[in-house]
Point group: C2
Chain length 125, copies 2
DNA sequence: CTAAAACCTGACGTTGACGTGAGAGGCAAG
DNA sequence: CTTGCCTCTCACGTCAACGTCAGGTTTTAG
């Protein structure tokens, strides 16, 4: 599978895939002419990388943690890094939940306002 | 209250506060010499701004949504924006939760590995 | 064989929320 | 008065994950 096909299957850009390789997150066999070829497993790997990026991890963190996320083994130091990231994600979830709750409150209140007071700020409608 | 005190009370940098003002998220009275002065309520406002930034909203989004978050009134268009942001946050929470779950799985497995197989990859240890 | 599509390697551009000086003025204390 | 800290306004620097363009090679479709 060449880079365009991998991009199509994963939904990430060709540029991004080359960037992942540059960051040592993804490897490829090269054909004699220099074109990248990937095994089928690369799809899962790219999706995993995307998941970790989406969780706010940096390339560097992903590079460190990917091996043990893939094969489930880790040194005590890696376990520490894993826990640190986990806690960071946990905190971020907390931030997002409270922001979402605040928006929900506003949405509920404003919706009620719109129904009672006909339009914008016109409680006598 | 001057800018340094507001920074100290909210935990955000002086530079960030000036940036918020530049983005019209925060206003200040100016003394004759040009120095910024803030009322006590500015503390809450800055914390609210921080909460929304932490939820991944841009300055522009915060600028649009801050008024109705503060006073609970919104036009239908604003309600739409609010819902859009809410859904985005919701999706992001989903991403974070699945990433956290994956890390939890790895942490559990790797911890078990460490206990069974004595150190790193030495099951006979 | 030829044209189009896909691929390659640089290398510079983008975006947002600030960080970081530079250089100058303001303000309470001794 | 002056020492020292706080504040002011530019204005350039940063960082990460790519986007995008240039200029050239390779593969594929007809």
């Amino acid at each position: 599978m060449r880079i365009g096909a991998l991009a199509a299957r994963t939904g990430v850009s060709v540029r991004a895939l080359r960037y992942y390789e540059e960051q040592d997150l993804l490897t490829s066999r090269r054909s004699p002419s220099g074109q990248r070829h990937y095994p089928d497993g690369a799809v899962d790997r790219v999706e995993l990388i995307q998941e970790l990026y989406a969780a706010g991890l940096s390339s560097r963190s992903i590079l460190e943690l990917l091996p043990c996320v893939v094969d489930g083994e880790a040194t005590p130091e890696l376990l520490d890094r894993l826990s640190t990231e986990r806690d960071r994600i946990d905190g971020q979830i907390g931030d997002l939940v409270s922001a979402r709750d605040r928006l929900d409150t506003v949405i509920t209140a404003a919706t009620a306002n719109l129904r009672t007071g006909r339009h914008c700020k016109n409680p006598e409608g």
